[in-house]
């Protein structure tokens, strides 16, 4: 199963869009280049083409109107904060290479271009280093302690910009990403975090299509300014998944360092590879700063290709989410009641999904829903505490072998997945 992906200008739609052998089509809808909608269209039996105008609904038109109005406004006065781009990776040199190629036009030649850091998180493959060393505009930094949040914290310490934009290695940026990111920060000088849209890069396999069917990482096509509180929103801001995803987030460096950086016990790779982004969104908001979601700050993400890996991801999402909740409840017991409410809602939501699946209304296969629920249960049953112990062991081992914090040193490789 494979879907085609097409960029369409909503004012200049083709009458017919041929499926050309694909089982369906992912339509990325733009208005004068701005992202205003995404539609996943299954190919009806026997159909050779689709009429794209049928998928331009009110929501798309409204998003386009808002963006036009926004584009007409003068750019905010005052200097935008300086930006550092940080890419944390372990061994995936080909993906980093692809991402750096998408960054190259904006970062290599332009004067005043943002600094680009690649944090090598204890790679065993030297080619990641080679990919970075061939580009003079990339700063290559090694972080020997295995764990995404070790690498992210290293990036926060190494970066020089006021804002650090984190990109996962499995994305490429949209053509307006940097421009939109600067605009978002200039529009919101009081923001602590800006998150953006994550679109699919390809829809070649069943796993990738399945994930997009359930909404993917998309969080809508309207700019949203989130504050520490919100009116009439029961699970706010405890349901931190709505704010965005760690694959495309930028943070005010000074603020996050002041908050103590990322929690290293989350996002450690197996067995607890998630939750660090939720945790930092939540803490930024609790500190009183604003969090801005801007769909124009867009990246294209290569979803996992295999169903087995996707199922594993559902498990880790449940796990990371629950670990984040367990941690936050412990840190601040006054939030306990609200998190209990959120958990109740979450399990109820999963039950509804299972019911929906039994009635063939939910696209997600039952094993994946069960994997997510199982992850949630494991996460609640002390996974965060166990992860703390593992992190302490990694740190202790690194300290013992101090002076020789090379990748592949015994402490790091012992905990590597």
């Amino acid at each position: 199963m494979a879907f085609g992906l097409r960029n369409l200008e909503i004012d200049d739609l083709p009458d017919r869009l041929p499926f050309a052998g694909a089982d369906g089509m992912g339509l990325v809808l733009r208005d004068r280049g701005r992202l205003v909608g995404f539609e996943l269209v299954d190919r009806p039996r026997g159909a050779e083409w689709l009429d794209p105008s049928a998928y331009i609904g009110d929501e798309v038109r409204e998003a386009a109107a808002v963006e036009r109005r926004r584009a007409a406004a003068p750019l905010p006065p005052g200097p935008a904060p300086s930006i550092s781009i940080a890419i944390c990776s372990k061994d995936r040199y080909d993906w980093v290479d692809r991402l750096l190629r998408s960054l190259e036009p904006f970062c290599a030649m332009e004067p005043g271009a943002p600094e680009v850091l690649v944090i090598d998180n204890a790679s065993t493959d030297p080619r990641l280093r080679d990919v970075c060393m061939t580009r003079a505009w990339v700063r290559y930094v090694q972080e020997p302690l295995v764990g995404l949040d070790f690498a992210r914290n290293r990036a926060l310490r190494e970066a020089t910009g006021e804002v650090v934009a984190f990109l996962d290695d499995d994305v490429v940026i949209d053509r307006d990403w940097l421009w939109a990111l600067r605009r978002a920060w200039a529009e919101n000088p009081d923001a602590g975090c800006v998150t953006g849209l994550v679109l699919p890069m390809v829809l070649d396999t069943e796993a990738q299509i399945l994930f997009e069917r359930r909404g993917g990482f998309r969080r809508g096509f309207r700019p949203i300014r989130y504050g520490p509180d919100r009116f009439g929103d029961v699970h706010y801001p405890f349901g931190a998944g709505r704010f965005g995803a760690g694959a495309n987030m930028s943070l005010r460096r000074g603020l996050v360092l002041g908050l103590g950086g990322f929690d290293e016990a989350l996002d450690t790779g197996r067995p607890l590879p998630g939750g660090g982004d939720l945790d930092i969104f939540f803490r930024v908001l609790r500190s009183g700063a604003m969090l801005v979601y801007d769909p124009q700050v867009a990246v294209h993400h290569e979803h996992r290709r295999e169903l087995a890996v996707l199922k594993r991801q559902y498990y880790t999402w449940g796990l990371g989410h629950a670990a984040f909740i367990a941690k936050s409840m412990n840190v601040d017991p006054t939030t306990r009641r609200r998190f209990h409410g959120l958990l109740l809602w979450w399990f109820n939501y999963q039950l509804r999904r299972m019911r929906g699946r039994l009635r063939r209304k939910d696209p997600t296969p039952m094993p994946m829903i069960l994997a997510e629920v199982w992850g949630g249960l494991v996460g609640l049953c002390g996974e965060y505490g166990r992860s703390r112990l593992r992190i302490a062991a990694i740190k202790a081992a690194a300290a013992k072998g101090s002076g020789n914090l090379r990748p592949g040193s015994d402490g790091a490789s012992g905990a590597a997945p």
Binding site: R61, E187, N188, G232, R338
Partner: protein
């Protein structure tokens, strides 16, 4: 933390023009919330509640936020209301009041600023215990004073309709301020002969008290429909268990009715409304108008500002009365068309809705919403008991027109 309606108090109101540029949005006092209303073409095109911790909003972020709030309007701007002449229809404004001299003075002062002026303004003093209302009316030369000894809003409104001489009777309440173009914009849609009633939007004038915030955001007493709507007979056709939501048509604080339509379908039901069942005398009249094949026209460009009640005690009584009145009106409507849907709503849908809402609020620890739901549930259960009075003999109030009865569309 998530904030509920009562925690917004005191809540400021900011009117923002869509096409203007605005400075940084800040709280100017002890406001815990801000209610933003975005205006374009003289009507509200969007609104949003911000809580204090979301402030200040820097100017560029506010510009984006305003565009987002007004997204629907920006995507499909409503056609400009036709400024066709109202064919010389004259308007009588009727203000019903009872012992609220301060409110009444404010209301009459706003009416005095109306351009064009109505043909007449009638203040109906409903079962007064003092002469304070009469004293206020004397301050405004040209305003007619009318005494209605029988207590009840419907009695007062009917009395106003009987003495009114205009082709259109515009009703508003004493706790309302009207916009200067109110009379002019109310009368415009009557150019269409099938339009029997015109309603408009009710915008809060002041949200500084907890009770006002609960009234506005907790129960959403006045809907905030932002598009022009035309309600015809087709609005009554639903599935058998669905009673038509006639309350969606508007609010009694901002409506005008063609006087000849009163002659056709009768006046307000005196068993309903404040002072009797509680409310819904207006929506029950709309129900009759629609059944008679006439049209109700809602236009958000017709604006009044409402001062909500400020103390909890009267708020809770008001909520109870509203719900009770709603249920009683369902029984009256059942008496007219014998459709089961009204009873289904009165006995099943409404109690279930409030029970569910109350339980949810309890689970979330939202005390204010819980109390509101309990009050509504009480009113809902009191409705059928009150409705037993409908079994008494009742003669419907009628309006007999003089020689202009031929105007009935």
């Amino acid at each position: 933390m998530t904030l509920g309606a009562a925690q917004l108090a005191p809540c400021g109101i900011r009117h923002l023009l869509l096409d203007a540029s605005h400075p940084t949005l800040e709280a100017t006092g002890p406001e815990n919330g801000l209610y933003l209303i975005v205006w374009a073409d003289g009507r509200p095109v969007g609104h949003r509640v911000l809580v204090r911790s979301e402030l200040p909003v820097p100017a560029p972020a506010l510009a984006v936020m305003i565009a987002d709030i007004a997204g629907a309007h920006l995507a499909t701007p409503a056609p400009q209301a036709s400024r066709r002449g109202s064919q010389g229809l004259s308007v009588s404004v009727v203000v019903c009041t009872r012992e609220r001299p301060e409110d009444l003075r404010r209301c009459l002062a706003s009416l005095a600023l109306c351009e064009p002026q109505p043909a007449e303004i009638i203040v109906v003093d409903n079962a007064p215990s003092t002469d304070s209302t009469a004293a206020v009316v004397r301050e405004f030369p040209g305003v007619r004073y009318l005494l209605e000894p029988e207590p009840g809003l419907s009695y007062a409104r009917n009395a106003g309709a009987r003495v009114a001489s205009g082709d259109v009777v515009a009703y508003t309440d004493d706790d309302v301020e009207v916009r200067p173009d109110w009379v002019g914009s109310l009368v415009l849609p009557f150019a269409d002969p099938s339009v029997a009633c015109v309603t408009g939007i009710v915008v809060p004038a002041d949200l500084s008290s907890e009770a006002a915030c609960l009234f506005e955001f907790g129960i959403g007493a006045f809907g905030r429909e932002l598009a022009v709507r035309r309600f015809g007979t087709s609005f009554l056709r639903r599935r058998w268990w669905q009673s038509p939501d006639v309350w969606q048509i508007g609010a009694g604080a901002n409506m005008a009715i063609r006087r000849s339509a009163f002659a056709l379908v009768g006046l307000f039901d005196t068993r309903l409304g404040a002072g009797a069942s509680g409310c819904s005398e207006d929506s029950e009249l709309w129900f009759r108008l629609l059944r008679a094949g006439l049209v109700c026209h809602y236009d958000p460009g017709t604006v009044v500002f409402h001062h909500h009640r400020n103390d909890h005690g009267s708020l809770y009584r008001q909520i109870r009365d509203y719900t009770r009145g709603h249920v009683v009106a369902l029984f009256v409507q059942f008496g007219q068309d014998r459709q089961l849907c009204h009873l289904v709503r009165a006995f099943a849908i409404m109690p279930w809705y409030y029970l569910k809402g109350g339980l949810r609020a309890f689970r979330h620890g939202d005390r204010d919403t819980f109390t509101v739901m309990v009050q509504q549930l009480k009113g809902c259960l009191a409705g059928p008991i009150y409705a037993l009075r409908l079994l008494r003999p009742y003669s419907k109030p009628h309006l007999v027109l003089g020689n202009d009865i031929g105007k009935v569309p």
